[in-house]
């Protein structure tokens, strides 16, 4: 394919969680928690997963929804302020085609005993291989998974 294109877009997801910023942050930083709501969110078989949560650290995943198509996610953590914010850059590939590169900001703001989370994704969607609306929906689903994770961990605590 020679017809290259880039669609730049920004979307914001806002969600209130019945948990402190520290508990919400832990759901991102703790490998076991992250595995439950993020890595296994879609119940896709995982071929490979690595997670190094620190500035400059990487998170990589290789998944296959159907056993043939491979989906890759490569993340680098750019900024981490504990209990407050995380900024990471990530690219997605399907097979050998890169479909997007994005900058993502997660901000956690205390609201009484709760936390208001703002997820801002600034994306470059490549060669018509992904749609902004699809990405936003995928992210909204993930942040619902996070709500379930926080309910589960509250029930255990």
């Amino acid at each position: 394919m020679t017809d290259r294109s880039v669609t730049h877009a920004t979307f914001v997801i806002e969600r209130v969680y019945d948990a402190s910023p520290a508990r919400v942050f832990k759901a991102f930083s703790d490998p076991a928690a992250r595995n439950r709501w993020f890595v296994k969110a879609d119940n896709w078989p995982i071929a490979e997963y690595t997670f190094d949560f620190r500035v400059g650290g990487r998170e990589t995943g290789r998944f296959s929804p159907d056993g043939t198509m491979m989906v890759y996610n490569e993340t680098i953590y750019q900024d981490i302020v504990p209990d407050n914010r995380m900024i990471f850059a990530y690219s997605m590939m399907i097979g050998d085609k890169r479909i997007s590169s994005s900058l993502a900001t997660v901000e956690l703001k205390p609201e009484g005993t709760k936390t208001r989370l703002f997820y801002t994704e600034q994306g470059a969607f490549l060669d018509g291989l992904d749609k902004v609306a699809d990405r936003e929906k995928g992210c909204r689903d993930l942040y619902e998974q996070l709500a379930l994770e926080l309910e589960r961990s509250a029930a255990i605590a």
Partner: protein, 156 residues
Amino acid sequence: MTQHSVTHATFTIVRHYDASPDRVFAAWAQKDRKARWYASHAGWRSQDFTLDFRIGGREYLSIAAPDGVVHTFDGQYQDIVPNERIIYSYDMHLDRTRISVSLTTVELKADGTGTKLIFTEQDAFLDGHDTASQRETGTRSLLDSLAAFLATGDPD
């Protein structure tokens, strides 16, 4: 107590260069070329410049302004399509303070005998340390330096 804040912004700059897409691409891709227009400015003291131009590779530039403040660019290539597209993420530090995290897309399109360059930057400015208008002004001046470099012809 430190007040944390993030300001998101996007800006786009479009330029035409009287040089082919492969020459413009080479000015970004080859360290000796990029050093001449990107890593050296009159009155600034370049301290360190490394460029590993491949997907997943890192670029690092540390340069001291005339006032002594050290500006550090630490970037990572996200996508490279030779002669067509470069995408990188980077953060900027002033001395030890991280002031921004950004995603930059450089698109090159043949435009007559020259090249149309579309520079799009998506920024997260941190804790009030920088603004989109300052970043855009700095970027325009860099893209002027690229024009001057391309006008002088290629180094061997």
